[in-house]
């Protein structure tokens, strides 16, 4: 069995396939850029506030949680609104990407069945659109921090934000690719993912600080692929420190991308037949 697009004559070696893949890269980047632009246009076409809406959801959620946790349950945490937002913004990025992953392939049937579209591009553009939404929240958070503390965001953000964005993008794209592919064959996944996300939201230190989790349960936070990310984001955004949890987050990104690659490799080619 050979590749469908290999040039005539002769079989493609790994090296020629690799070089051909690299040759396609600029075109694929342009395609992904156009797909991201389309995604953003589609979402905000005809809305008056446009991308500002990407702030509305986490801000409203933050207000509700603030009232519930601070004033109803009376939990004392310093700077609670900022504390919440430092974890809610990255959580929002991950959870909305993963939530839409289940239907990513099943709702793009005409493209997948009729065009030789690299399915990775579809996943990448879906996640990158969410990454842009997240990008909008960073200056907003910086401004809020400045107002609350009277000091501008620290310089360490310049290194930390791109690093964590990279790790979270790899993690999220891997989850999205694996879930979107698997959901074509096992449609239950769509419902399962929704329940799991809810569960992960509560076991991840988002509403509460890591310090509230008993030390002998920290391994549980470390095992959850989202846990180290959120802990690292909060350390960076709120305290201006590069936490050692970044390393654990990177390990999760690596094994998740290996799993996603395997799923894609084993089952991906059957997606156009099964979707």
């Amino acid at each position: 069995m050979s590749s469908t697009t290999s040039p005539l004559p002769g079989d493609a070696t790994l090296a020629t396939r690799l070089s051909r893949g690299l040759g396609l890269l600029p075109q694929q980047c342009e395609l992904v850029a156009a797909l991201v632009a389309r995604e953003l246009k589609l979402r905000y076409r005809g809305t008056a506030l446009g991308i500002v809406w990407s702030l509305a959801n986490p801000l409203a959620f933050c207000l509700v949680l603030y009232l519930a946790v601070r004033h109803v349950m009376r939990v004392e945490i310093e700077d609670y609104p900022l504390f919440l937002l430092s974890a809610l913004f990255p959580w929002q990025w991950l959870s909305s990407s993963v939530n839409s992953a289940s239907t990513l392939f099943t709702s793009n049937v005409s493209v997948i069945k009729k065009l030789p579209l690299p399915r990775l591009s579809l996943c990448l553009s879906s996640v990158l659109a969410e990454t842009i939404h997240f990008g909008v929240t960073i200056p907003v958070f910086g401004a809020l921090l400045w107002i609350a503390h009277g000091t501008p965001p620290p310089l360490v953000w310049l290194a930390g934000v791109p690093l964590l964005v990279l790790i979270q993008t790899v993690t999220t794209v891997s989850l999205v690719l694996a879930i979107a592919t698997a959901n074509v064959f096992l449609r239950d996944l769509e419902q399962l993912v929704r329940v799991l996300l809810l569960l992960v939201f509560y076991v991840t230190p988002i509403l509460y600080p890591l310090s509230m989790v008993p030390a002998d349960l920290h391994w549980l936070v470390a095992l959850n692929p989202v846990g180290p990310l959120v802990v690292a984001w909060r350390a960076l955004l709120l305290d201006g420190t590069l936490s050692p949890w970044i390393a654990i987050a990177a390990v999760h990104a690596v094994w998740l991308s290996a799993v996603a690659f395997l799923v894609h490799h084993r089952a991906g080619w059957r997606v156009p037949e099964a979707v």
């Binding site: 469908t4 697009t5 005539l8 797909l35 069945k113 009729k114 156009p272």
Partner: protein
């Protein structure tokens, strides 16, 4: 003459969905089903098909519904992978399997033309450069900045066709799409395909229009239930297909019978 498309012993078997409960439900109802693979139901869409097309050749593909024509194009277009055998294509392929595949109804014709051009594997600057030619060919100048949902189905089809032919592919795959659009557009599309063919493009097109297939193709392939029943000069293959098709019941014959009945009753009245 260099080879543009070559298929060697290509077989495509589709797995059909197993009957009965699936997914988590099956696991709950019968946990042992996890370890006992469901009886596999398969459908062989293409059976050991071999053919090879020279650069610049035009091949018409005919056959009854479900004979494997679209599967053949999807394999050459790189959308499906053969179960066994090999498919080789030299150069860039533009699969026109459905006009307007991947269009977003909320976006304008122009925005869709850009995304679709990129989906066909073109570079952004080439897409931008040929945009005027696409608009001109589709004949939708005054609507190009309107959202696609306001287009008629004919306009949408014209735009889809214009994008694919302006992509200047080495291999163009056309599946039954020339039947849409009015006579003028159809004539222009055929002219355009002939022009591309003269310029060296290899063209495979699926159609039920036997007049057209004899007129346009260099060779015709006749697929019968997944197997290549004949491959050769258009007149010969079309003649043997016609002879074979006559003995089989035709789907439209009931309609003809109804029309005859109506005509007869109108006469007698």
């Amino acid at each position: 003459m260099s080879t543009a498309v070559s298929l060697e012993n290509v077989t495509k078997v589709f797995r059909l969905e197993p009957r009965g409960p699936r997914g988590l439900k099956a696991l709950v109802l019968d946990p042992r089903s996890l370890f006992r693979p469901a009886p596999r139901r398969v459908f062989c869409a293409l059976d050991r098909v071999s053919l090879s097309l020279a650069r610049g050749e035009t091949l018409g593909v005919i056959g009854a519904n479900g004979a494997g024509k679209s599967t053949l194009l999807a394999l050459i277009g790189g959308i499906l992978r053969p179960t066994s055998g090999s498919v080789r294509v030299a150069g860039r392929v533009a699969p026109l399997l459905e006009l307007g595949a991947g269009f977003s109804h909320e976006l304008t014709g122009r925005e869709n033309a850009i995304v679709n051009g990129l989906l066909l594997g073109r570079r952004r600057r080439d897409v931008d450069r040929s945009l005027d030619a696409v608009i001109e060919f589709a004949g939708i100048e005054e609507f190009i900045d309107e959202p696609l949902k306001s287009y008629s189905s004919g306009m949408r089809a014209r735009l889809g066709f214009a994008i694919a032919v302006q992509a200047h592919p080495d291999v163009l795959l056309v599946d039954e799409v020339l039947s849409v659009g009015d006579a003028a557009f159809r004539a222009r599309s055929l002219d355009r395909i002939a022009e591309m063919s003269r310029a060296g493009a290899t063209i495979l097109f699926v159609t039920h229009d036997l007049e057209l297939v004899s007129r346009v193709s260099d060779r015709v392939a006749w697929l019968d239930r997944g197997a290549l029943a004949a491959l050769g000069p258009p007149e010969e293959v079309v003649a043997s297909y016609r002879a074979e098709a006559r003995v089989r019941p035709r789907a439209e014959s009931a309609l003809f019978a109804l029309a005859r009945e109506r005509a007869a009753s109108a006469e007698s009245a």
